[in-house]
Amino acid sequence: MKDEILIKKFISGNVSAFNTLVWRWQKPIYNFIYRYIGDEDIAKDILQQTFIRAYKSLSKLKDHSKFSTWLFQIALNQSKTELMKKKRTMVSIDEFHDDDGSASKRPKQVLIDPDLRPEHTSYNENLSNLLKDALQHIPSDQRVVIVMKEYHGLKFTEISEILREPINTVKSRMYYGLNSLRKILQKWDLDKEDLVYEM
């Protein structure tokens, strides 16, 4: 059943229609928030706040076909508020450098050497953690564009609509975001394509 039909049902008093929307969208919205914020627990809190806010104001949404855009906007606003509260201190990209200043291979070593990984974590979990760290090292306005594009496959026009920014600004942020990420991954020696296939 389409989102628009579920929204109409919800507005006419069918709460279970909203639960279907929650069930359908909670995973993508959660992953969006998590990748943007970088903290699982906070992401879960924001996810709940997002759907509570959506529940309260869905009846005011004029264009029902824009539900997902609207939901992303709520999640983004909630996340931004949380980021302001946290005032997260940006960690230097040289975090993994050795004491002598030479670029360390530690992230990759931790990733590929099972003995160096934290207990009960798989290769995939470790890679996800490293990518999460890498994303947290770039500015949030670039990070949000990368997350929307890479993990949610949104078109640049859709991202521009969600962020309420000109489309070329969005593309420019994507370019500089990718460039920064490339440098971080190069430093951590995680830029080789074959790395992905080692999984």
Partner: protein
């Protein structure tokens, strides 16, 4: 900086959102530009690495249930959604209408129909039978003044007599006390005088005896 304009195009190219015309133009540029070619390769790799991060399940059971609301909460929710300005305008309009209706007066007199409407004149409107003339009002004022003056005069006279009687009593009492005290003082003085005289006589006599004794001794 000729590559600057191709940065945007590079994004469109990588994510396949480029128009055919731009695609041809960009591919022509790629043939000549090693920098953009390197960017394209690196960004594709970065994109691939990023996509190794799989989605997670939030493990949350978010379920909403219908909650029967009281009429008050419904009213409150509705009230919150009304913009303040509109709400105030409605309230003001309602008050105006209420005042106008409550002050409306319709009269049919001698076959003529008349209607009066006003906002604040309900209490100031009086029956013509209750009107008094200016002369009557002045006369009432004069009567009041005379009455008040007489009351004040009577009160003053009565007050003066009482005061005089009180002062007389006080004077008599003081005079009586003074006489008593004067008598006592006179008695005391007389007593002192007679006592002093007696002592003086005794002293004089003793002195005479002494003089006689001395004269006798000298002889």
């Amino acid at each position: 900086m000729k590559c600057e304009k191709y940065k945007i195009m590079l994004m469109d190219y990588i994510y396949d959102e480029i128009s055919n015309e731009d695609k041809k133009q960009f591919e022509l540029h790629l043939e000549d530009c090693d920098s953009c070619k390197a960017d394209l390769k690196a960004f594709k790799t970065t994109s691939n690495v990023l996509n190794a991060w799989e989605d997670k399940d939030p493990d949350l059971n978010l379920t909403f249930s219908s909650n029967s609301k009281s009429w008050f909460s419904d009213f409150f929710e509705t009230f919150k959604t009304i913009k303040l300005a509109r709400g105030l305008a409605y309230t003001f309009g309602f008050i105006l209408i209420f005042l106008s209706l409550s002050n409306m007066k319709i009269q049919i007199q001698d076959g003529n129909f008349s209607m009066e409407m006003g906002l604040f004149n309900l209490n100031s409107r009086v029956d013509t039978d209750l009107y008094v003339t200016k002369t009557e009002l002045e006369s009432a004022k004069m009567e009041n003044l005379a009455l008040v003056t007489k009351m004040l005069t009577d009160y003053s006279e009565k007050d003066r007599i009482q005061t005089v009687a009180l002062l007389d009593n006080y004077y008599n009492s003081v005079e009586k006390d003074r006489n008593k005290e004067m008598k006592l003082v006179t008695n005391a003085l007389e007593h002192i005088y007679s006592d002093t005289e007696q002592r003086f006589n005794k002293t004089e006599k003793a002195m005479n005896d002494l003089v006689r004794y001395v004269n006798y001794q000298n002889k």
